[in-house]
Every structure is written in structure tokens, then in C-alpha cells.
Amino acid sequence: MRSPSVRSGGKRWRRLAPWIAAAAVLAACSGPGSDQTTPAQAPVEVGKLNTVAVVTHGSPGDAFWNVVKNGAEAAGTQLGVRVEYNSSGDPGQQAKLIDNAVAQGVDGLVVSMANPEALRTSVEKAISAGIPVVTINSGEAESVQFGAIGHVGQSERQAGEAAGKRLAAAGKRKMLCVIHEAGNIGANERCAGATQGFGTAVTLQVDINNPTDVQARIRGALESDPSIDAVLTLNSQIAARAVDAVRESKSKAGIATFDLNDDVVAAIRAGTLLFAIDQQQYEQGYLPVVMLKLYRSNLNSVGGGLPVQTGPAFVDKTNVDVVAGLVAQGTR
């Protein structure tokens, strides 16, 4: 649709537009590379912690991140701190959520850094605005470098290696590592670590949003290569599908998984799942709020900047009964 009303004065605009555009572009002055230096740490002041923003890379509705959220909210309730949780799997969007928290003027920030490079500028901006940052879950290596006061998480590679070693110790010879999120760096790290600790491994790509596909693909992989005697899944929802797939394919493969849920607990009890690596992500929600509170009110730091490891903890037949109730209430 073209309205004739645009005609009047349109000529002038047409002539001016490129110049306006050029002026606008020229006005941009500071390049993204110019903020390479370590951020200026704002002078520490003893004060109150009223609001904490938690910005993670988890997708909404993910069982794993729900436990993190529960941890952060529980700490918030107990310490009288308002906790705002937001997440986006897209690194650019996550960076904008961090900028948003800075604009709101929160007193503390908790960030999971699955893609540290993408978040660098935003995290440093928060720190130079005087907001203390604690990183969680991923980004251990970059945490201190960016100026965070601490990191709470599990080294994915180490946890993967521990899982691989444990499967090898159980007498397994060939492992299938199931990657459920194609672009997820943490999942890749886990598989890489597990392969390192185990020896021979093949990886399999599945789509976590399509459970039928997950089960069919794992079954297919087991049927086409009978020498596979171990399956490692990186997510509790995938573990349940792997248990079914192993049963259907009449494979003798032993299964291990990262992360817990009710199905995993039941499978460990039933003996169809060897063990689960628990990174106790409740702590990744809970501890940062405590750390920020201590930092704000008492200028304490935890671990002197060294990462606080929340895992790997192992859940197997020996301790599954104690943990089961905690999984059901959403804290393990």
C-alpha cells in the first residue's frame, strides 16, 4: 500500500538520508576491542544486598536449571534477598539480560557462562558498575579473568573423566556417549572428558526435545554395533530413554548418566542404571547468593578466587535411597 501523503517532502529526505546515515555511523566511536583491559573494580563498600539477578543459559522448563532456580530462591528467602531469575540459551540474548540487570541496578549478579567470550563485555560492564558477580556452572577458567568474585560449579571435563574412569573400572570396553544438545559446549566437554577417562568411545547426536527420536537413535546405535557395552548420557531425561532403548535392543550395555531425576533414581534402584554423576546444582543456585551476601555485608570472599566445586558426586545403589526424597522435592 502506498499512500500519496508521503510524497510531500519526500525528495528532501531522500537527499538527506545518506548523510544522516553517514553521520550516525561516524558518531559511533568506541570499538568493541577497546575494552580489552581488565575491568576497573569499583571500590568495595559495605552495604546491603537487596536484589540479586540470576542469569543462566538454561532453556526454560529444563529440569536441571529448575533445581538451580530453587536453590537461588531458597537462599533468597532465607537471607531476605529478592532473587530474580532469567535465562536464555542464546548467548546474545543472555548478554542483553545481564545488561538489563545492570540497568536495573541490582546489588549482585549470578551468571552461568556457557559462552564466556560472548558475555565478557556485559559481565565486565556489570563489574565496573560496582555490581559483584559470581559465575556458576560453566566458565570456570574465565571467571577470575573477567573479574568475578568467585565461581561455583563442576568442571565438566573432570566430571566426564571421572565418569569414564568409573565405567572402565566396571569392566566396560566400548562406550557410546549421547550428546543431546548439538551446540552445547558443556555437553561436548563432558563427552571429551569421558572419552579421555574411558578410552574407546563413539558419540551419538540426539535431539532432547524429541524423546521418540532419542530412544530410536540409541536403540539403532546399539543394534548396529553390538560391541558397545556402555552408554553414557549427559542428561537425566535422556538416561530414561537410554534405559528403555537398551532393554528393547536386548543389549547388555551398562548405562550411566549425568544429573538426577525421579526416573534416574528409580532406574538406579532397579539396577538398570549403574550410577549418576550429580553436580549438586542446588548449590550453584544457593551458594552464590550467600557469597554475594557475605561480600556485600562483610567483604568476604570464598575460596580466595579459586572455583568452588559442587561435583562430581556419585549416586549409585549404595546411597540412592537417601537421595531419592531430595530429588522429589526439587533440591537434588
Binding site: S3, V25, A28
Partner: protein
């Protein structure tokens, strides 16, 4: 309202038919989008104190900008009667091509950008050519491109780098100057305006001028309104549509470059699912799903509404569990306002 007629409409109308200013305003497709944006803006400005602060404004402008760049191009394509489902993934594909060439092959960033631009335009041209050649709906053709690119993104990235992210472009030659063009920040007081916002405004103005002031703009309305009639009056339909597909691919390249140089890393799964947001923004902006009607400024306003709603919800501190619901209701409301005005506009015309 049919645009096939607009293309051949004479420039001057008899004075008796000329509508009042109010009526002329109401028939603008972007008016609904403007009101929707205004409502969302006022709403969040009132219920939160930081939304309308310098930092707040730069935050939601930033969010709206990359979406807006794409929405503007997608709006042109939709007015031309086609869809591009590969537009979201294209932002990642172009960034990956640039990043792999610059980081892994050690090229100068500008050269890598040039190659990825050629790549983008080629994919766009292929989309358009297949659609015009086969007569298949663009929905299907670009769905194929979408899936193919998604697979290429992951496969090639993993094959070359062994992981799913490419980072380290800060160290590549030409990063400073390229970063200045695509990812610099302008500080106006407390507001940090991203380069993508500037790109967004410039491209909106350019696309707006092309659409309403040029012959090519007429062709876009014509091929979207009625392809046979457009052909009958001598509009080069195939060329127009192929160029439109190349335009969305170009926009994908711009957004890819902005994201890559700003975040200095790109993930293989980036951009998936964003194509629908572009279409939503264009629809809020007054574009019809059937083609032949719409506005570039409207699409930019649609993107603005989207960005304001998305960040406003966070500013308001609402529980993120309900986030998508809020977003859905807000967008639906914006579209309803829009449609109400469009209906009214059609009544006025008759």
C-alpha cells in the same frame, strides 16, 4: 487496498476523493504498530522505574535492533508475497563462515566478511531461484534451506574446530576496524548505543525509501499483490523476488557480523527459531501473511515492540516461568490493535 492497482495508480487523485488527514493517517499500515509500541512503552515506563532510564532504553533498543534489521528485510519479502524460514539460521551461518575463515584460516576479517557476504547472497539467490523456477511455496523451499544450513553449521564447525563454538576473532587481523563498523558502542550520556542500532535505523530508512519511492518498490507490491497481473503489466517478477530473497540473506549477514564481532564468538546452534520472530515483528508492523500489503517502518516498530516487551518483562521482575505467556499475550494484543485499525482503514477507503 489491493496493491496490484496501486502500481498503476496515477499519482494525482481528484481533489474530491482526497481523504482528511485523520483518514489518511488511519490507512497507514504502520499506525497500528505505532500505537502498539506506544502502549507497550507507556505500560513498562509506568510500572517500572528503570525502563525509561538511559541504560534501560539502550538495553531494549539493543534487543530490538538485530531483530529489527531482519524484520525490515523480511517485511519487504513478505510484501513481495514470500517467506524465508532460513533467515534465522542464516545469521549463524554467515557468522560461522566469517569466524572460520578469520580464526581458523587466519584471514583478514574484512576478507572473511566479504566471502561470507558472497555466500549469503548466493544462498538467497538460490532460495529465490528455486522458488521461481519450481513454483513451490517458499515456505517449503526455505524450510529445506533452513534444515540444510542448520546441518552445515554444526557439521562444518565440529569438523573443522572439534567443538561447537568458534571464538577468538578478537585476535584476527582487521578486527579493530571491522569491529568499529559492526560492533562499536556510542555513549550518549549514560546510554550505550550499539552499532547494530545504527545499522537498524539506516537499513530501515533505506528499505523504506526503496519501497515507497522507487520503481523496484512498486514491483515488490505488485508481485506480492498478484503475480499474474504483475507479470501481465511487465514487472520482472523473477528478478524482483530473487532480489528480495537476497535482501533477507544480506540482512542475515549484517546481523551475523554484528553478533560475531560484538560477542567475538559464534555457536553452531545460534539463530534457530528466530525466523518466526522476524515474521511476527513484520506482522505486528502491518504486513499481511498473504503479501501485497505492509510497511518497513511498521516492521521496525514491530521489532521495537518485541524488544521492549521482552526486556520490559525482565525490568518488571516478573517470574520468568510466565515469561512466554506475558510475551504471547502482549504480542497478541499488539496485533489485535493493529488489525482493528486496519479494518477501520479499509472501511474508510470504501
Amino acid at each position: 487496498m489491493s496493491v496490484a492497482t496501486t502500481a498503476s495508480e496515477p499519482d494525482t487523485k481528484p481533489a474530491g476523493l482526497r481523504a482528511s488527514i485523520l483518514q489518511r493517517l488511519i490507512v497507514r499500515p504502520e499506525l497500528g504498530a505505532f500505537i502498539g509500541a506506544l502502549v507497550v512503552f507507556l505500560f513498562f515506563s509506568i510500572i517500572t522505574d528503570k525502563f525509561f532510564s538511559a541504560l534501560g532504553v539502550s538495553n531494549w533498543l539493543d534487543d530490538a535492533s538485530t531483530l529489527g534489521i531482519m524484520a525490515v528485510a523480511v517485511a519487504l519479502l513478505m510484501i513481495g508475497g514470500e517467506f524465508d524460514l532460513s533467515a534465522g539460521v542464516m545469521t549463524a551461518s554467515t557468522a560461522l563462515v566469517t569466524a572460520l575463515l578469520a580464526v581458523n584460516a587466519g584471514w583478514n576479517v574484512w576478507l572473511a566478511l566479504a566471502v561470507s557476504l558472497v555466500f549469503a547472497l548466493a544462498v538467497g539467490a538460490l532460495n529465490g531461484w528455486v522458488v521461481m523456477r519450481t513454483g513451490l511455496p517458499s515456505f517449503i523451499v526455505t524450510l529445506g534451506t533452513f534444515l540444510a544450513l542448520q546441518g552445515l553449521n554444526l557439521g562444518v564447525t565440529r569438523w573443522i574446530t572439534g567443538t561447537v563454538q568458534v571464538s577468538g576473532i578478537r585476535g584476527a587481523g582487521g578486527y579493530q576496524s571491522a569491529g568499529w563498523v559492526f560492533a562499536s558502542t556510542t555513549n550518549i550520556g549514560d546510554a550505550h548505543i550499539q552499532a547494530s542500532v545504527v545499522w537498524w535505523i539506516v537499513l530501515t530508512v533505506l528499505a523504506g525509501i526503496v519501497l515507497v519511492r522507487t520503481r523496484f518498490g512498486n514491483w515488490i507490491f505488485a508481485v506480492g499483490g498478484s503475480l499474474p497481473s504483475a507479470r501481465a503489466v511487465g514487472v520482472p517478477a523473477a528478478r524482483t523476488k530473487i532480489l528480495l530473497f537476497m535482501t533477507t540473506a544480506f540482512a542475515g549477514w549484517v546481523v551475523g557480523a554484528c553478533n560475531l564481532l560484538r560477542f567475538s564468538s559464534v555457536q553452531a546452534n545460534q539463530g534457530v527459531g528466530l525466523e518466526f520472530q522476524y515474521i511476527i515483528a513484520a506482522v505486528i508492523g502491518g504486513c499481511l501473511l498473504t503479501g501485497g500489503f505492509g510497511s518497513v517502518v511498521g516492521a521496525a516498530l514491530g521489532a521495537l515492540t518485541f524488544g521492549m516487551a521482552r526486556q520490559g518483562i525482565v525490568f518488571a521482575g516478573w517470574n520468568s516461568d510466565w515469561f512466554m505467556l506475558f510475551l504471547g499475550v502482549l504480542l497478541l494484543a499488539a496485533v489485535l490493535v493493529n488489525t482493528a485499525f486496519k479494518k477501520r482503514a479499509e472501511r474508510v477507503r470504501r
